[in-house]
């Protein structure tokens, strides 16, 4: 086998590639599904906002299908790629305009609760951190096979709170008492 190419930090100047508004909106007027705004703040171990992070999201469409050939029922909706990325602003915040994903097939056919897959990069991070964002008003969270694999006392770090109709918030904490759960997948 070939040697894998190892990861390195994005450093402080990834904004040269990804200006702050790049792919912050995943939707067009024709995208079907309930519109939502997902926002949050990236914080470090001193609880200071991280102004030089890159946040990426990947999600299914409103029917729970991914726009990808490995999905048995791939989305044919060319108005919705399911991918977004955004450089945090000076105050460490990020905001995505998207749709609420549907429930996705999980291990052994168990449905997964609606969620976004989230990738996080920053100066001072030598590899990408991978996490998920769930929605607090989803009754199916309690049966989600991934969420229930996380120690109960840390699950809330993966669940976005509903701030108002269609507006969700989840902060990503790199360290601290509310350190976000990151995954090895």
């Amino acid at each position: 086998m070939l040697t894998l190419t190892p990861s390195q930090t994005v450093g402080p100047f990834v904004a040269i590639l990804v200006p702050s508004q790049d792919r912050g909106s995943l939707v067009t007027e024709r995208t079907s599904g309930p519109r939502i705004v997902v926002e949050g703040m990236v914080r470090d171990g001193a609880d200071t906002p991280v102004p030089d992070a890159l946040v990426e999201i990947w999600q299914a469409n409103a029917a729970g299908h991914y726009r990808h050939p490995d999905d048995p029922r791939p989305s044919a909706d060319d108005t919705f790629d399911g991918y977004g990325r955004m450089h945090t602003r000076r105050d460490g915040r990020f905001t995505f305009e998207t749709i609420k994903p549907g429930s996705v097939t999980g291990p052994s056919g168990t449905p997964q609760a609606p969620h976004l897959v989230v990738g996080l990069y920053a100066r001072g991070l030598l590899t990408r951190l991978l996490t998920r964002m769930y929605f607090e008003d989803e009754p199916s969270n309690g049966q989600d096979p991934i969420l229930t694999a996380v120690p109960a006392e840390r699950r809330t770090t993966l669940i976005a709170t509903c701030e108002s109709e269609g507006r969700y918030r989840l902060d990503l904490a790199l360290q601290g008492t509310r350190e976000t759960v990151f995954f090895d997948v």
């Binding site: 070939l2 994005v10 990069y121 694999a149």
Partner: protein, 238 residues
């Protein structure tokens, strides 16, 4: 809960100790930014083995040539970077987005937070993107970035490098890394490069000078192949 879906053809895990640890004391910025809790191991699901593979229609004709994005050419040593995106089994990864960003020839980024007093170059932004062809090949034309000082420790200098961002076929193959230049004396002093545990993995980030890629009278050629996580041949449990 660590069963893999029988219908999922999983991606192999990187060997233990291949990637740099996020807690790397030599690189000071990791101190407040590395997670202190162990990563939670989860099975690969449809959500992870899929990823953005469509929608790169916005590539411009000069996106791959960083020397022709302004009215005049940038200052510096013109170089060609050519390579392939492959998986661990040497299969090419076709039609995937490869992006780069870098400092100018003087070692300065076109970014307001870069306070190094090397000159900015009005003819160089330092960002490029291209999609691999059916054989996984990509090619950029740019200038060789300069070394620059940083505040990590006394007399700290980053070796010249080009940041690379690659997608591959899934969210698990996504990779952001840095390409270095062969024979660079700064490499062994650089805590970001040396955060990679093994010499073998470090060398995977050092491009090779290639006379075959070098164009007479015009530009030096470097080769940089990128290897992403491969997949098991058959679905789990089948």
């Amino acid at each position: 809960m660590n069963r893999t879906d029988p219908k999922i053809r999983p991606y192999r895990h990187p060997p233990e100790g291949h990637d740099p640890p996020n807690d790397a004391p030599g690189y000071r910025s990791t101190a407040l930014r590395h997670p202190t809790q162990p990563l939670v191991i989860i099975p690969q699901t449809l959500s992870e083995i899929t990823g953005p593979v469509y929608g790169y229609g916005r590539l411009g004709p000069m996106d791959h040539d960083l020397t022709r994005q302004h009215v005049a050419e940038p200052l510096g040593e013109r170089i060609i970077i050519e390579g392939r995106v492959l998986d661990e089994d040497e299969r090419p990864v076709p039609e995937t987005l490869v992006e780069i960003w870098q400092a100018n020839a003087g070692g300065r980024y076109a970014h307001p937070q870069d306070v190094h007093d090397a000159p900015l170059d009005p003819n160089f932004t330092g960002a490029g993107r291209v999609e691999t062809d059916t054989e996984g090949c990509f090619r950029f034309v740019t200038i060789k970035p300069g070394a620059y000082p940083w505040k990590n420790h006394h007399n700290a200098w980053r070796p010249p490098h080009v940041h690379f961002s690659v997608f591959g076929r899934s969210f698990l193959t996504r990779l952001i890394t840095q390409m270095y230049f062969p024979g660079d004396p700064l490499l062994r002093f650089d805590p970001i490069f040396t955060s990679i545990p093994t010499e073998r993995a470090r060398q995977a980030l050092v491009s090779s000078f290639e006379l075959d890629l070098t164009q007479p009278g015009w530009a030096l050629g470097y080769r940089f192949d990128i290897v992403l996580r491969g997949r098991d041949a058959t679905p789990m449990g089948l």
